[in-house]
Symmetry: C2
Subunit: 197 residues, 2 copies
Amino acid sequence: MQSRSTGTTVSAGSSTKDAIRDAALELFRAKGFEQTSLREVADVVGITKASLYYHYASKQDLLGAIIDPIIEHMRSMAAEVDGIRWSGASVRTVLRDYLRGIVRHRHAGALLLRDTVAIINALNDRYPDWVDSTEQLRGWLAGPVPTDESKLRAVAALEVITVALVSTEYAPGAPDELVEGILLDCAVTVLDGFADR
Amino acid sequence: MQSRSTGTTVSAGSSTKDAIRDAALELFRAKGFEQTSLREVADVVGITKASLYYHYASKQDLLGAIIDPIIEHMRSMAAEVDGIRWSGASVRTVLRDYLRGIVRHRHAGALLLRDTVAIINALNDRYPDWVDSTEQLRGWLAGPVPTDESKLRAVAALEVITVALVSTEYAPGAPDELVEGILLDCAVTVLDGFADR
DNA sequence: GTCTATATACCGATAGAC
DNA sequence: GTCTATCGGTATATAGAC
């Protein structure tokens, strides 16, 4: 659909469309979605705003290209959890899988975490059931007989997971395996109320 | 500076200036700071946009009136921590005080948490050293000899504390004392790596 | 203190030439 | 696929009457 064409220097082996997406992610993360104009994105890429519209039909489309993968990950986790019996072991497995996906989509996740209001406002037409997904996962983690305490611990555990999104800022040298191990331990501990190692 | 004047019916025992601040906080929380226009705020209060500018010199001024108290709390915690020797007991005390302040400024805190990028962008002139404050608290919590693990655990512990900002959404019936007790336990546990109760 | 009216600027999006 | 030019809308902020 997109010919590799002649050896133009848009970006190392990447199309203009991808270059726009990458530049937008960087700017959205630094300045926020609403605070970033498409003119600024186009300037970074080296094209005009009108050219950008050739590749993306709207600003929401561009945001969708960035956010889609991590939203899909969250949605699939919520669906998967529906058929899993709650237990100490399955809780750890679910949190581990969730954490791994978060790490994989780290950059988009950091945007989603820090600019939640603007992004949800812009994309609640595209993802009408995203809030329900997060709610479902939270409810499952709180256990079959939720109490105020187990609900709060579930929220706290998910909050701990999100630290993976910004781990490179605070522990730049730590490899992903270490980050995943520590945060999974923290999240499980928060849910249980005591460590099980 | 602001005469109580005659008994006008601006709001129950409150000035117009306060009514503007309260309406703005509610709208900013629901729609985000940048997504909320001063015209909308003025409409809720029942005045025009021009009248609003009589009370607040700019949109940033209005945001500052909302955010100032919690920023000041964070700054004072960071300053206080500078003279405290790090220990298991002092860590718990600091986290408890921090958590109590967060609960006290819950509404402004929830705005700050969910619209971080927009708010920091709007107010980084007014609070040039706010990021340093949070960094200082985080560094102290990580202990006298920080490792990648202790740094990550410090970030995670502070992240757990922020759950207090949205606790009323997920555990509406829980009293503040219960919320504070649970979250303090979670945060301390995350920092230690095992419970100490 | 509140109003109407307006200045100024930028935004997202489109039209149409090349 | 990229450009120039522009439309329609809305935003913050101000001027000046009452």
